[in-house]
């Protein structure tokens, strides 16, 4: 009996110990439960901090720049000579270079991208689509430096066979190569938009005697228009922000011209050139880096906002 009660006592002690252990464990885990969300929240804030960091650095240094160079001269000046005795800081040559190269890129990527999307979404059989699409996406995975090399050492010499006046660095060849780089992006986004048009609409039009072509252009493309436009705008944004192809193949002449056979500099290429060394911190050239980067940032941000607005605002509901 005594033995037994002893055993009971021991058991009771053990159970009590277990419970208190469990409690201790629970309080530890309850600390974790409370700490984890806070920790995760703080980490999630890093992405916000990145944006704030970008805006803050660009803004403060840009303001420095505009305390030295008038904002009107910057945005209306057609001459950019940061390294000369009397430096001039007009950004227009860079903006024109950026816009011209992007226009060339879109002239290549726009039509080819959308025709590719039409083929993949409307004409190709399932098997063809499943082989062609990943192959096309390989194009998007190639590093831009490789495209730059390709433009400089292959496309430019090739184009010079046909266009005698083409300079060794020009805006035409990197523009074309940039367009090729953007094709998969436009094709893929547009194809998504077109594939999501319900089959009932296709079948309805086909039943009325329309050919596939008529179905595509009278029914599918209008229905998917918002997605297609958004893909174009994103493509432009990509072209504006593209750096290495242009840095290598379009040269560093700050020409303010429409002649695509000439060398031109884009905003991105200017940033590379200036940050590449000859800008001592605190000099006006150094600050011009930030003013140009700010302009570039605003351009692409605007494009991205437009793309999102278009795809949301004009989304057709079926």
């Amino acid at each position: 009996m005594a033995n037994n009660s002893n055993l009971n006592k021991d058991n009771a002690v053990q159970v009590r110990e277990l419970i208190s252990k469990k409690r201790a464990g629970r309080s530890f885990s309850s600390i974790i439960e409370k700490a984890v969300p806070v920790l995760l929240f703080l980490i999630a804030m890093i992405s916000l901090l990145t944006t704030i960091g970008i805006l803050f650095t660009l803004l403060t240094e840009t303001i420095h720049f505009f305390s030295r160079v008038s904002i009107i001269e910057f945005f209306t000046g057609t001459i950019l000579r940061p390294l000369s005795q009397n430096p001039e800081f007009g950004i227009l040559p860079l903006i024109s270079g950026t816009i011209i190269s992007s226009v060339i890129a879109m002239l290549v990527a726009g039509p080819i991208g959308i025709m590719t999307a039409i083929y993949l979404s409307e004409y190709a059989t399932d098997r063809v689509r499943r082989t062609l699409k990943p192959l096309l996406e390989l194009l998007a995975g190639i590093p831009t430096i490789v495209y730059g090399f390709f433009a400089f050492t292959f496309v430019t010499p090739l184009l010079r066979e046909f266009i005698p006046g083409l300079e060794a660095t020009n805006v035409l060849s990197p523009g074309i190569v940039m367009g090729i780089m953007i094709i998969p992006m436009i094709a893929s986004l547009s194809e998504d938009a077109m594939s999501s048009v319900p089959n009932a609409m296709r079948e309805g039009a086909l039943a009325l005697g329309a050919t596939k072509l008529e179905v595509t252009f009278r029914v599918i493309v209008p229905a998917a228009l918002s997605g297609i436009i958004a893909s174009f705008v994103l493509g432009i944004s990509r072209a504006i922000g593209e750096t290495m192809i242009l840095t290598i193949a379009s040269g560093s002449s700050k020409n303010f011209t429409l002649d695509v056979t000439q060398s031109m500099q884009t905003m991105t290429a200017y940033i590379v050139e200036v940050s590449g060394g000859d800008a001592p911190a605190g000099s006006t050239i150094y600050y011009s880096l930030y003013a140009v980067a700010m302009t570039l940032f605003c351009f692409t941000l605007l494009m991205n906002i437009v793309a999102r607005y278009v795809s949301r605002r004009y989304r057709e509901e079926y």
Binding site: Y119, I142, T153
Partner: protein, 294 residues
Amino acid sequence: MKHLTTKQVEKKMKSRIILNNILKTIFLLSTLFGLVVLAVLIIRVLTQGLAYINLDFLTGKLSTSPDRAGIMGAVLGTFWLMAVVIPVTMVLGVSTAIYNELYARKGRLQSIIQTNISNLAGVPSIVYGILGLTIFVRTMDFGNIVLAGGLTMSLLVLPIVIVSSQEAIRAVPKHLSEASFGMGATKWQTVKNIILPASLPGILTGTILALSRAIGETAPLVVLGIPALLLPFPGGIFDKFTVLPMQIYYWTLDSSLMEEYAYLASATIIVLLVLLFILNSTAIIIRNKFQQRY
């Protein structure tokens, strides 16, 4: 009422059908255009560079004479860069994704974070270079070492990791976590034991894709001022470094001086593309192998 005969219909339809067929061919050709360019690019790089790839090239130091130049420094630099980017993006990206998907209350703040992430994805890479230059190289005074480059690259690819991790987490079926709650597990226990393991393949796939982006990206590093000629091999994250794309960049620029440099650039491109190919195949294998059907 007049009835159409088959003949009339055929006559009417003929030109439309022909037009359809012509444009179908044009659409097919434009689809093939991109692939042809891809093929030309690859053939060109292979014919130029393949002859230059040998053990000396892969393990050699950089040199001013083209026939003795090697890319080991750039390979090691790429390796150390990955050593920074992988842990940083995994921790930051997955944590942010968990917070956004599982903890954040649906509201103003959460939608701001979400919008911000998609905006960050659209910021040109060179702007990240300027951010890195200002914050890591100048303000924190790291200099252009691996750590500065790696952190810059991490911020650049972070949106990719966050978005793909969020998708992976969202794809975990609700009944799994509900079962876990039903067994008395707490939220964090559920996240740690159920949701994270189930979404791991998706997270890894996204991380590898982000990594391959970071390896191929050049612009931010150019802005950081990563040097061309080097230096002892980098042995850690506090060393100065160069990476494969930077090597390609400088050799491409030099190719107008001496043609051999174009061949060296081609050879380096082959190495870089093989590396990217291995990474991307790994991502695909992981996705296919661990794709779970619930």
